[in-house]
């Protein structure tokens, strides 16, 4: 779609495709279908050789004389260890004993997140809500109150940002803090491991399940859509 719009303006494009069935229908001018799990467009993180092979295969399509052309990246390059799509909350049973103090747990995870920031050189997925990690305790209280059916707000929410969008950013930041903290704690875990730990064993995961439930119970389609983004 996007490729078609750019191409019509005189820009040659080559696309990486994750869903072959969709690409067969939309027919971008040149597309490379990659057999990788969602979130792995160029293969594997920190594997420059595989990333270069994917990039090269995508760029090679530019020599094709005509299109649309859809080529498959060879199957034997599959990363293999990750499932094709991440585990979801609905498929993960909470552990028998889950910590019940999200604020304390968040304070502990923040220490691991500090380690993550040191190792990543400051790169982080945290920051969509605009509330700094040092004041995130207020966001945790806000999400707990929302999950319990209370109406509350956070003073950092921009006046022009709808509450439901802000809730989503807060939930995303909370996940980012935990996911990256977990990666600092256990550098070798897979994304699937981290998702199973978050939804199964953390207090934060259980609060976000309840945030999802309240959003999903609304008649407002924007709230329902946000619920699908918080947990599913």
């Amino acid at each position: 779609m996007l490729a078609r719009a750019l191409e019509a303006e005189g820009i040659a494009t080559t696309s990486i495709s994750m869903v072959r069935e969709h690409t067969e229908k939309t027919k971008p001018p040149r597309a490379l279908f990659v057999p990788f799990p969602f979130g792995h467009a160029l293969g594997r993180p920190s594997d420059p050789d595989l990333q270069h092979r994917v990039l090269r295969a995508a760029l090679d399509l530019l020599t094709e004389p005509a299109g649309p052309v859809l080529r498959d990246f060879p199957d034997d390059a599959e990363p293999g260890v990750e499932p094709p799509a991440p585990a979801q909350a609905s498929g993960i049973a909470p552990a028998a004993a889950v910590p019940d103090d999200p604020a304390l747990e968040t304070a502990q995870m923040r220490q691991y997140h500090e380690q993550w920031l040191t190792r990543s050189g400051g790169r982080t997925a945290f920051g969509l809500s605009g509330v700094p990690a040092t004041r995130f305790r207020g966001v945790v209280r806000f999400l707990q109150a929302f999950a319990a059916g209370e109406d509350s707000d956070v003073e950092e929410r921009p006046a022009d940002l709808p509450l439901v969008n802000f809730i989503r950013y807060c939930a995303d930041d909370w996940k980012a803090l935990y996911f990256e903290g977990r990666l600092a704690m256990k550098p070798r875990v897979t994304g699937d491991d981290v998702a199973r730990w978050f939804w199964g064993e953390t207090a934060a995961g259980q609060v976000l399940r309840r945030v999802r439930d309240r959003l999903d119970a609304s008649e407002d389609p924007r709230w329902k859509a946000a619920a699908f983004g918080v947990a599913r």
């Binding site: 040659a12 229908k25 990788f36 969602f38 924007r222």
Partner: protein
């Protein structure tokens, strides 16, 4: 390997429900400049942007401009769908925004260079009308004005 038949049913159904445009042909611009002399820009649907930029909202069909020399620590992703694993991106942004790989290609003389900017849209869109008619062509014109020959389009 997100082949539909290997996906959990929840994901498969979600994908099958996405309205997809059906086309028979595609507009096709030949790349006349050899790659070793061509300028490339990434156009990603990963919902990436600079940290100070306004995050994408759901269904937003606008785009964000990312200077091609921006360090990856200055970028953040507001496409946070649970449909894909975010851990690879946390570990290595090159997984969908391969700026380091492009620098290596340029250093090896296999690619001419990059344009001054990369561009980013929100992914997992249902309604694409405005991208098709307005914001997509606008990015195409900007790329042309910036002397870019090739766009590499990457998803999450």
């Amino acid at each position: 390997m997100p082949r539909l038949d290997r996906l959990p049913q929840l994901n498969r159904n979600n994908l099958l429900m996405l309205p997809v445009q059906v086309n028979d042909t595609a507009p096709f611009t030949r790349l006349v400049t050899p790659l070793a002399a061509a300028r490339l820009a990434i156009v990603t649907t990963a919902g990436l942007h600079r940290r100070g930029d306004r995050p994408f909202g759901p269904g937003e069909q606008t785009y964000r401009v990312i200077p091609s020399d921006a360090p990856t620590r200055d970028l953040i992703q507001s496409h946070t769908s649970l449909g894909f694993d975010r851990v690879p991106m946390m570990r290595d942004p090159n997984i969908c925004f391969p700026v380091d790989r492009l620098r290596e290609l340029i250093a090896r003389g296999e690619l001419g260079g990059t344009g001054p900017h990369h561009y980013s849209f929100m992914g997992a869109q249902r309604d694409l009308k405005r991208i098709q008619e307005e914001t997509g062509p606008e990015v195409g014109r900007r790329l042309r004005d910036e002397g870019v020959d090739v766009a590499l389009i990457t998803p999450t």
